[in-house]
């Protein structure tokens, strides 16, 4: 277990310089896609850590949007463009919203959790769509980021933001990797499998779910801030349920096996989308849907499971049924 964990973390650390290097080598448009998918990849990570607890959030776009808008509003109304302050604003906003919403959501599981997360994200969607001060459905633009008073412009600005994005994402991924192996991370797996037993082992499933929910929110809002700065724009679509659906899609596709999987998955999907939309704009969702069905049917643990060998044998449906009497 420990060896595996180290491998993921070293992998991420080794990937960091590579990730930064490609900004200087690869064409600009590819780098842009990498940067954008690093932002959305963090949201997919937020979905994934909740999935470990068996919870599917169909409203993770909420915190993607909260992060983006918190940063955007700080820039728009207070003229602040410092990256660190914007990140702090996004994190703080997510902490507050998720801290409160968590008291309600931690009581729900399964489809109720899915629907309630969706409903809450749609409250924000409705709210932002009808707020003219924030540009209604059009949203508004963000300025370029500054760094503790340093305001790089043009190419330097682009590369600096990209470098920081990569850095923040890798740090987040390492922390989340540690989280998955931590006691609370372990409890989440137990909650997914059998919550009654978790309570009987002497711990509160509600607390663990609340903590996980808030953590996922914070990560997603960081993703939102970075994404908004990369694009220089925010709009209510960020919290529409269809956006959240895409994050769920990525988590299903990449599985919950490894923290790097959603990040890589997001990027591949982004690239695939560019070509698919180019070739046949009206079949992109059809491809997504079909891939998702095939993944669920044939690779229930995600594409990542192709890379890892499994020693345990697949159980028969029969024995699974017997167990489910008690869960």
């Amino acid at each position: 277990m420990n060896i595996k964990m180290d491998r993921t973390e070293t992998g991420l650390l080794l990937a960091l310089p590579l990730l930064i290097l490609i900004a200087f080598v690869l064409p600009k448009w590819v780098v842009n896609y990498v940067q954008v998918s690093l932002g959305t990849g963090l949201v997919a990570l937020g979905v994934m850590i909740q999935m470990r607890a068996g919870l599917v959030s169909f409203g993770q776009g909420l915190y993607f949007c909260v992060g983006g808008y918190a940063a955007g509003m700080l820039a728009k109304f207070l003229g602040i463009s410092d990256l660190f302050l914007l990140l702090a604003a996004g994190i703080l906003a997510a902490l507050i919203v998720a801290g409160i919403a968590g008291f309600l959501l931690r009581r729900y599981r399964e489809i109720f959790f899915a629907m309630l997360t969706l409903a809450i994200s749609m409250i924000l969607f409705g709210l932002l769509s009808s707020t003219e001060e924030l540009g209604s459905t059009d949203g508004f633009n963000l300025p370029s980021a500054t760094y503790l008073g340093w305001a790089p412009e043009g190419e330097t600005g682009r590369l600096t933001l990209y470098t920081f994005t990569a850095l923040v994402v890798v740090v987040c991924a390492i922390l989340l990797n540690r989280f998955l192996k931590s006691p609370v991370g372990y409890i989440n797996e137990a909650i997914r499998e059998n919550e009654v037993r978790v309570e009987y082992l002497g711990t509160s499933a509600h607390h663990a779910v609340h903590i996980t929910y808030v953590l996922a929110a914070v990560v997603s809002s960081i993703g939102g801030v970075l994404w908004a700065l990369a694009l220089g724009h925010v709009d209510p679509e960020m919290t529409n349920w269809t956006t959240s659906g895409q994050f769920v899609f990525i988590s299903i596709l990449s599985g919950t096996g490894n923290i790097a999987a959603p990040l890589i998955g997001t990027f591949l999907l982004e690239i695939l989308r560019v070509y698919a939309v180019e070739i046949s704009p009206n079949t992109w969702q059809m491809i997504l849907g079909s891939v998702m069905l095939l993944t669920i049917l044939y690779l229930p643990k995600g594409l990542w499971s192709l890379l890892t060998t499994r020693k345990s044998t697949k159980p028969s449906d029969d024995s699974a049924d017997k167990i489910s009497v008690g869960d």
Partner: protein
């Protein structure tokens, strides 16, 4: 006073439309335990096929009064074909799987249906207003309302009553209740559970398509209406308690009136009032107002 009447009529109008659009969702969940996101796709298919058929018919010189027949016909065809394809082609391989997994499966189907709709009808919008104005308007307290609005209310009531009667008064309905109660035992009793599932799913799909078909004359039909209706339907069936027909009716009324209230009193709140109501109901009554009983765990 005028506002109060306007809120009532609009509230009932919204409620009727919401009930028609959501009752299939709650039926499918009640019987099959599938929270069917693809329902939004059925709604969109119904809306497109009805708007397209009406447009074609009226533009080629057909009498508008007959175009009313096209609405149920379009719903029936679109719902039955799509429902059968989805159930026989995909869902039947997934029965007995986890409820959350089924949500993801139906989400994938929803994505596929969205593009299927675009491939058939393109991305431009369809308007088929003729039936909506054919019978003119009625003035209620000096506010004109289309007769069509009241027709939708009548249809919603009729569908609700028909479902209630079939479920509670007929042999088929009683057998269905047995299937809902215990799938395994009903199989052992010789009830054809697979057939019940297929029929339920197709009926649910037709109802979803009917919701779209009947509202097509009142809206402009364009991509994205499926995604919009599915969240509204969630709110409706969650508030009432999933799987309950009566609950869907109550949920539709609550959501309908919440929307009518905000439209008339504070328009900016229109979009989020619905979800606010949903979250509020769930905060108090976690599994909806008429929730199905949960069984003991240990």
């Amino acid at each position: 006073m005028q506002t109060a009447v306007a809120i009532s009529v609009d509230g009932l109008g919204f409620a009727a439309w919401l009930f028609l659009s959501s009752v299939g969702l709650t039926l499918i969940y009640g019987v099959m335990r599938i929270l069917n996101i693809a329902h939004g796709g059925f709604y969109a298919l119904g809306a497109y096929s009805s708007a397209w058929a009406i447009g074609l018919f009226v533009n080629s010189g057909g009498a508008v009064v007959y175009s009313f027949l096209l609405i149920p016909l379009a719903a029936l065809l679109a719902g039955a074909i799509a429902g059968l394809l989805v159930e026989r082609g995909i869902l039947r391989y997934m029965y007995g799987r986890d409820e959350v997994l089924m949500v993801l499966v139906t989400y994938a189907i929803f994505l596929i249906l969205e593009d299927a709709t675009k491939l058939i009808w393109g991305t431009e919008s369809y308007v088929a207003w003729q039936p909506a104005f054919h019978f003119g308007t009625i003035n209620v307290m000096d506010i004109p309302y289309t007769v069509y609005k009241f027709i939708i209310m009548a249809v919603a009531l009729a569908v609700g009553a028909a479902l209630f009667l079939v479920l509670n008064k007929t042999r088929v309905g009683k057998l269905l209740l047995v299937v809902i109660e215990d799938r395994e035992i009903s199989g052992a009793l010789g009830i054809n559970v697979t057939l019940f599932f297929t029929v339920t799913f197709v009926v649910g799909a037709i109802l979803g398509a009917l919701g779209g078909a009947i509202s097509a004359p009142e809206i402009s039909v364009l991509p994205g209406i499926g995604a919009e209706i599915i969240v509204l339907s969630f709110a409706v069936i969650v508030i009432g308690g999933m799987g309950s027909i009566g609950g869907a009716m109550l949920g539709a009324l609550i959501v309908g009136f919440a929307r009518a209230l905000s439209v008339h009193l504070y328009p900016p709140a229109e979009l989020f009032s619905i979800y606010l109501v949903m979250a509020a109901v769930l905060a108090v009554k976690p599994y909806g107002l008429f929730a199905l009983a949960e069984s003991r765990k240990i």
